[in-house]
Subunit: 307 residues, 2 copies
């Protein structure tokens, strides 16, 4: 549904290239990479989410798209809409934004404010990349890696939505995601990754995106998918398994495909950047499948839609 809307808009705007995490414009001998992400109270920031975390996540969501294309960040601009200006809350959100930007060695350059019924933060991050990573260049035989554990954000959402007992480690992961910018920029610079996508759409939609854009397939190995510890306690009727939680997304990790011969070097680089890289399957000629207990079955495209 969300994809249909995006496709309708892209068609009308005459955007014909493949759908990427960030847009690319040649500038001064390098490529300027730009990405925008609109987040809002309710859907993206659940009721009760601390303002500092709102600020942090609104920046992290945009940096995550830069990481997925292997860009080095140049800065962000943040447009805010909110109902009443409550000084203390605004200050905390701004503080969260600033700390997230500083942590990732970048900064917020400016922005805009507007009055809206509820909090909306629309950020734009830009960076540079000599050779940006794309979604559509996975090759049959590539290993599929993910840059960290999945499902904590979904478990945190459910904690808020259903007023469950919070798990400190899960909430920390949701409130303060760390983006693999340095690792991805180095991997892209060395040409070690064939295709990449950030996981804002969730495991299943992301793998389907890569396969569709690359005209390829994939086999995931269920036992190797790194599910965040303790998330199974947060499943519910709509998302009955830990894997369903991983399919909602927003863990701000990157899925990447890597040729067999580069695998060792990529894993070594991951260790140097203190990133946990998990090998979860491989790219095939066609079909998106999952292998579980020796049995292989279709891995359907299911995830979260704003609409």
């Amino acid at each position: 549904m969300e994809d249909d809307i995006i496709n309708l808009i892209r068609a009308e705007l005459g955007i014909s290239g493949p759908f990427e995490d960030a847009e690319s414009v040649p500038l001064g001998g390098t490529k300027l990479m730009v990405t925008t992400d609109m987040l809002s109270e309710g859907d993206d920031f659940p009721q009760g989410m601390p303002p500092h975390a709102i600020g942090w996540v609104s920046v992290a969501a945009n940096l995550s798209d830069l990481a997925a294309v292997g860009a080095a960040p140049l800065g962000l601009v943040m447009a805010w809409g909110f109902p009443r200006p409550e000084d203390e809350r605004i200050r905390e959100i701004a503080k969260g934004m600033k700390e997230c930007a500083s942590f990732h060695k970048t900064r917020i350059l400016g922005g805009d404010v507007n009055r809206l019924d509820r909090l909306v933060i629309s950020g734009t991050a830009f960076g540079s990349a000599g050779n940006p990573l794309r979604r559509g260049s996975a090759r049959a035989g590539d290993r599929i890696l993910v840059s960290g554990k999945l499902g904590a954000s979904s478990a945190a959402y459910i904690t808020y939505w259903e007023k469950r007992e919070p798990d400190g480690r899960i909430m920390e992961r949701f409130h303060r995601p760390l983006i693999k910018l340095g690792l991805m920029h180095e991997l892209a610079g060395k040409g070690l990754v064939n295709a990449a996508i950030d996981d804002s759409d969730g495991l299943s939609p992301s793998i389907h995106h890569i396969c569709r854009e690359s005209r390829a397939g994939a086999v995931l190995e269920y036992e190797k998918i790194p599910l965040f510890e303790g998330i199974e306690k947060y499943t519910n009727a709509k998302y009955p398994s830990a894997l369903d939680l991983a399919n909602i997304g927003n863990d701000y990790e990157v899925f990447m495909t890597v040729a067999e011969e580069n695998l060792d070097e990529v894993l070594k680089m991951g260790r140097r950047h203190k990133a946990e890289l998990y090998d979860i399957g491989r790219i095939t000629e066609k079909g998106v499948l999952i292998e579980r207990g020796g049995k292989r079955e279709a891995f359907p495209r299911t995830g979260f839609s704003h609409f």
Copy 2:
């Protein structure tokens, strides 16, 4: 009020430089200029505004900030929030966006969609400028020019708000503003302008901004201020004069200050770009004044605030 919020946010983010229409980042031998503008149904897009105009204006508002710094546009990304996806309306908004971008020789590269209670469009435009124009470099003795007539947008807002009889020329001006990108880029390139600001805040706040950032003053000549024909019919109790309408802003014109010795060349360049440039006063040492019927009085800072 809006300025207080912006200052609070900027302080918390550690943004210490002067407040400009677009932010500047050195990149590949030039300066990347970035600006973002969040517009929403109700405040910015009045009830009944045609979707095509909503799209056009959402792009034009961002390009206007690039014009004010003399940047050549490289592209835009647009983040949308809306309640229910109504295909026909979305298509028309996208069409308006595309036509505005194409008219101004640029394009929309991508964006984001989100579900919100009402339509919000947050655009980000980026461009390049060798020597960006700034607000804070006006010099005493400079002439103050404006790139077109003022007040039509405010008259159009009042037409919508109060369901007045629409004036075709006023509505056309509001629904399809044309941005002086080419002229401003050339003026900036040739170093012919000392300071500039776009008029999104309105005549009075814009002149006050320039004076404050430049530690200078100004005297405007009331008789020379180009008020859009017919707007006096749209005054009301809150905005009782045509000048009050000009102070609301959103006409997407640029105010600029020009040294006496460059005035002829600037006016000539204006004619070549088919832009109407009006000389409305001059920069002084201090105080913001207006001269009317031979009498000089204070020109207070009054305008529109979203809050």
